[in-house]
């Protein structure tokens, strides 16, 4: 890298400055083109093709096949690395899980390298190797095993592979855990093995319990050996290394991997290394989705402190190690088919690291590592891990100040979580106060207790606006004679909003009951065919109970179902109330007719769009979104999952709101067929006209204490608004008011001036963009192109 500087006489000199190790690592990961690794799929298949193996207990099969993967997959140590372990054979890569969602994904095999969004590198030989395994898994993958009756299979094909009403993610595996890494780094796999052996003595050989313990023992041993493989490799590389500094580093790596994960960690580096090995192995076991290290600043701090005292580490060294770890998290990516990309979007796999917040005893947990992590997320600004910061009323001013400065300067990490609301919510749902205080997010936004919850937080997502379509059509889709829902009152007989609500509730109850039935078949199949012994060994309760986490062995067992597009649904109900019953602008049958024709009448559509929407602090409008969320929660509350836990609602949608929007007809809120729904709890696209304070007042009308699976609330600002001390102070006040008034979670997005340019070129993108010039009154979209340029000029100057 070239830097131009001046010497002591002011003459320009060209000097070559070597970027830091962290920047070199970041650069190698960011410039690597992502690919598909066939190791897991091929090794897994080879194991299962042996019919002797298929006769073993599912627990043993699982442990042994994972052992085969850990002992035989290709391993690498890359230049400059301090924390080692490669998830895939590519620098950045993903694996195929043929036994889970494998076959639907494999059907895309020829598209991966050519597709426009997120192409994945795969060679001809690798394609051939994967093609060879398809026949074996054709009738053995999870969804097929779950639905044995022909009727259910047909429904599976209609609903799952083309999920319009709901999508059951759990059919692709469960994952979504924050393992008890504290336990692993303190007792090592040896400790886990001893624990399992101890429990196993009290069980009868050959029973399910015994097999479960046996599986834990097998996998604990395999994980230790996985570490040893790196120790050997590092030693070999060290002896061949000519650079003395690197040689020493490789020796240290070898020493580290000889100790961990087999033994308890004796240094900070060993602790980080130990958990990263487990991170790889758990991703390969349960599913490469949302395996979350969680509260790293909390459980790593004792190791940092001890090393500091022994003068074996400095703050900078610890930061370098954690940066190296942080970068390695981006090497792990999920492999999605094009269809699944609709649902999950991007290459995001939700590995959450949480900092700050309360300790189990209720005191503030902020420590030096908390700040180290904040610096790392600000400096690296990479996609993974998904960094969360917890805020409590005990959070120190310095911590908040650091976060506000980062966010105001455009860092999109961390997302913020309100301890007061989340701990309360968790306690109300049955967590002990100590476990609730030790929560971390997993996946996107879902709170779980670290090392204690097996909550399938992303079990399924329901398309709620589609339920309104059914309610207005006696259980049918527009233009369909086939009844996809329950029978409810025809619109011509509806005399009031009460009738509309009744129909909506009937359809909602019907769809939720169908969803739960399908989901429970998958839950049972996961328990039967895809137990997760390694995950279970790091979740409190499983070893004690002798029950795998998939069967309900963990201390807490929730399942999260997402309510997708509540604002679009609520706004549509309000539009019906206003247009049909208050203004009597149109009859309900006439409105429904218009909807089925995709709102061809522009003046009607504009009228519907102009009706007040959620997000503008209007109680009359907001109450309908609140109603939708309440009804959704009420329906879920009636059911218990097969692991003995509750179904809890979540208000986030990743990217599925776009997909559901594409497959859903026109809505009374003026949205045409195919247009995207709003994300999470955001207002329908751009319908918040009054700025962040009004939006927050609307959002806080939702009772978050019922939303135990978490909320995603995006708060967008343009960078000009947040400039300087005034802007930072405003951001700070907005966030603290939001949390004080019961807000649960917020993700701040600062949009740069280029966003204004995009808004100029496409007015529908941000229809109600705020323009704030002292004493000036206008909306951006009402300005002439020349004036829009003027605003853009002003925003750009200051930044």
């Amino acid at each position: 890298m070239l830097f131009f500087t001046t010497d002591h006489l002011g003459r320009p000199v060209t000097e070559e400055k070597k970027p830091s190790r962290v920047m070199r690592l970041k650069n190698s990961v960011q410039t690597a083109s992502p690919g598909i690794c066939t190791d897991r799929a091929c090794i897994w298949t080879a194991y299962h093709k042996q019919s002797d193996n298929r006769k073993k207990s599912a627990h043993i099969q699982m442990a042994e096949s994972l052992r085969e993967v850990l002992l035989n997959k290709k391993i690498r140590i890359y230049p400059d690395e301090l924390i080692v372990g490669n998830y895939s054979s590519k620098r950045v890569g993903g694996s195929i899980f043929p036994e889970l969602h494998g076959v639907p994904v494999l059907l895309d095999i020829f598209k991966f390298s050519k597709r426009k969004t997120n192409p994945l590198r795969i060679s001809g030989i690798e394609i051939w190797n994967l093609l060879k395994i398809i026949p074996f898994w054709m009738f053995r993958f999870m969804a097929l095993k779950a639905y044995r009756s022909p009727y259910q299979l047909i429904r599976l094909l209609i609903h799952q592979l083309k999920g319009h009403f709901y999508i059951i993610n759990e059919s692709g595996g469960i994952s979504h855990i924050a393992p008890d890494y504290e336990k692993l780094i303190s007792i090592g796999t040896d400790g886990i093995l001893a624990e399992a052996s101890g429990f196993q003595k009290n069980s009868i050989q050959g029973t399910e319990k015994w097999c479960f313990y046996e599986a834990v023992k097998i996998i604990a041993d395999a994980l230790a050996k996985f570490g040893q493989r790196y120790a050997h490799l590092a030693e070999k590389m060290a002896s061949a290394e000519s650079d003395a500094g690197r040689k020493q580093e490789l020796f240290t790596i070898a020493q580290t991997c000889r100790n961990v994960p087999q033994k308890g960690a004796s240094s900070f580096q060993e602790a980080v290394q130990s958990l990263f090995f487990a991170q790889i192995a758990i991703n390969l076991e349960s599913l490469d989705n949302s395996v979350c290290p969680g509260r790293m600043d909390q459980y790593l701090y004792p190791f940092y402190e001890a090393d500091l005292q022994r003068k074996q580490i400095t703050r900078d060294k610890a930061k370098e190690l954690l940066s190296a770890f942080s970068i390695k998290m981006s090497e792990i990516i999920p492999v999605f088919s094009e269809y699944l990309t609709n649902i999950h979007g991007g290459m995001f796999n939700g590995q959450v690291v949480t900092v700050g917040g309360l300790r189990p005893d209720g005191t503030d947990g902020t420590n030096e590592l908390t700040y180290v992590f904040l610096e790392i997320m600000d400096e690296l600004r990479m996609r993974q891990p998904n960094y969360h910061a917890r805020i409590s009323d005990k959070s120190p001013e310095q911590y908040l100040e650091k976060i506000h400065t980062m966010l105001a300067n455009g860092s999109n990490s961390p997302a913020l979580y309100n301890d007061t609301v989340i701990v309360d919510t968790m306690v109300h749902h049955g967590y002990s106060i100590e476990d609730a205080r030790d929560y971390t997010g997993v996946g996107c936004v879902e709170p779980v207790a670290q090392g204690k919850s097996f909550s399938s937080t992303d079990a399924a997502l329901l398309n709620v606006p589609l339920i309104l379509e059914l309610a207005l059509n006696q259980g049918r889709r527009f233009g369909s004679r086939f009844r996809s829902g329950a029978k409810s009152m025809p619109v011509k007989n509806m005399r009031s909003m009460e009738d509309v609500k009744t129909a909506f509730e009937i359809q909602l109850a019907d769809q939720v009951s169908r969803l739960i039935k399908d989901l429970q078949a998958i839950e049972t199949a996961n328990r039967k065919y895809h137990p997760t012994p390694l995950t279970s060994s790091l979740l409190e309760g499983c070893l004690e109970n002798g029950i795998c986490s998939t069967a309900g062995g963990a201390r807490y067992n929730f399942s999260g179902i997402q309510c997708v597009a509540p604002a679009d649904t609520g706004d549509s109900l309000f539009a019906i109330e206003k247009a049909v019953f208050t203004d009597q602008k149109i009859t309900l049958p006439a409105l429904v007719k218009q909807l089925s024709l995709n709102l061809p009448d522009n003046s009607l559509r504009n009228y519907l769009k102009a009706i007040e929407k959620f997000g503008n602090d209007q109680p009359d409008a907001d109450k309908w979104t609140v109603y939708v969320v309440e009804q959704f929660t009420r329906q879920l509350n009636q059911y218990r999952n097969t692991r003995g836990g509750r179904y809890v609602p979540g208000l986030y949608s990743v990217t599925i709101h776009e997909y559901y929007g594409r497959v859903t007809g026109a809505l009374p809120n003026g949205r045409k067929k195919g247009e995207s729904f709003s994300s999470g709890i955001s207002p329908s696209n751009g319908m918040d006209r009054l700025g962040p304070t009004a939006l927050i007042n609307s959002v806080n009308r939702i009772d978050f204490s019922k939303i135990a699976n978490g909320v995603n609330f995006n708060l967008k600002f343009d960078s000009h608004t947040l400039r300087g001390p005034t802007g930072k102070l405003a951001l700070k006040s907005v966030l603290s008011t939001y949390f004080r008034k019961g807000g649960m979670q917020v993700q701040v997005n600062v949009l740069d001036p280029s966003m204004l340019l995009a808004a100029k070129n496409n007015p529908d993108l941000y229809p109600h963009l705020l323009v704030r010039v002292s004493g000036y009154s206008a909306y951006f979209n009402d300005l002439s192109p020349k004036m829009k340029d003027e605003i853009i000029r002003r925003s750009s100057i200051i930044n």
Binding site: S603, G691, N697, A730, R772, S774, Y776, A778, S784, R794
Partner: protein, 310 residues
């Protein structure tokens, strides 16, 4: 309530306001809700809110989004709408009844100015009270010229003060002192515009001389009220060093220590062809940062701290 002559029939009970903006960060301390009062005694050529000049509600027309359906023409009881008018409506005939506004399918016709009762306005501005508390913000009266509706403010501001909300006013000062004086106990901060120190230039560009304004400023400074002088920096109008120096000395004489400089921007011109106004675009380019900093330095030289807005 409103007649065409613009007289309020219930003075003091209703205000005409043309916009209420929440989350304003540059109209006083903290997070503020700014109420734009309609009606102004001046008509500055650079005005950024020319739709504020008239006291009564009026129609505004957004030609770009008009789809020429002329639903408005069919419904107008005054026959004020015509295809041939660039403004779409004849201001002489229009009574701002709002019928066309409610029927316009693309929201191209809108009413500027809405009557607000005491309670309604209170309920509206207290919505962000939690944010005011956290940020030491409050409400700002802007316009137009809020002092034109003094009777309303006298009845309304006590309701706001009761809730311990900080109140700021932005005024041009063109008002009888007795009116201003009555309001002072109800205000926390006055933003006061000084546009030009020369009477005849002031008259040329704003329509009125500055004698009354300067007098009021002197009185205000003596009253012990928190006053912040502000100056719209208009290239070629008030940027001459002489005027800057004179302004600075005037401030010093009145024990003021600082001034806020609001750089000219042409954003108000976007509105000129949408309303009935005699104002025309100034066709000047905004000052760049360097020029603005020179003006800032001139003030600083006179020991007046100048804060530059952006």
């Amino acid at each position: 309530m409103m007649e065409k002559d613009g007289n309020l029939h219930y003075p003091g009970e209703k205000a005409v306001i043309f916009d209420i903006q929440r989350f304003c960060l540059h109209d006083g301390p903290g997070i503020r809700t700014t109420c734009f009062f309609k009606g102004c005694p001046l008509s500055c050529v650079w005005c950024q809110n020319p739709e504020s000049h008239r006291a009564q509600p009026e129609l505004i027309f957004y030609a770009e989004s008009c789809i020429h359906c002329f639903t408005c023409k069919q419904i107008c009881p005054e026959n004020a709408i015509s295809e041939t008018l660039a403004l779409r409506f004849d201001p002489e005939r229009c009574t701002a009844c709002g019928l066309c506004v409610s029927k316009c399918p693309t929201n191209s016709l809108r009413l500027v100015g809405k009557e607000w009762g005491l309670t309604d306005l209170t309920n509206e501005v207290v919505k962000d009270i939690a944010f005011f508390q956290d940020s030491n913000g409050g409400i700002t009266l802007s316009g137009g010229e809020p002092l034109l509706q003094t009777d309303f403010l006298l009845a309304w501001l006590p309701m706001i003060r009761e809730k311990h909300i900080h109140t700021t006013i932005q005024t041009c000062g063109m008002m009888s002192w007795t009116n201003i004086e009555k309001l002072l106990p109800l205000l926390d901060l006055v933003f006061y515009d000084l546009k030009h120190m020369n009477d005849s230039i002031h008259k040329q560009f704003t329509g009125k001389g500055n004698a009354n304004i300067l007098d009021n400023f002197i009185w205000l400074s003596k009253s012990g009220m928190a006053v912040q002088a502000r100056m719209p920096v208009i290239p070629g109008v008030n940027t001459a060093p002489d005027n800057i120096r004179e302004t600075a000395r005037f401030l010093k004489k009145n024990q003021q220590e600082s001034i806020h400089l609001l750089p000219y921007h042409p954003l108000g011109e976007a509105k000129l062809n949408r309303i009935d106004t005699s104002l025309r675009p100034m066709n000047i380019t905004p000052l760049d940062l360097k020029n603005l900093q020179e003006i800032q330095e001139l003030f600083e030289k006179e020991e007046i701290h100048a804060v530059l807005y952006d």
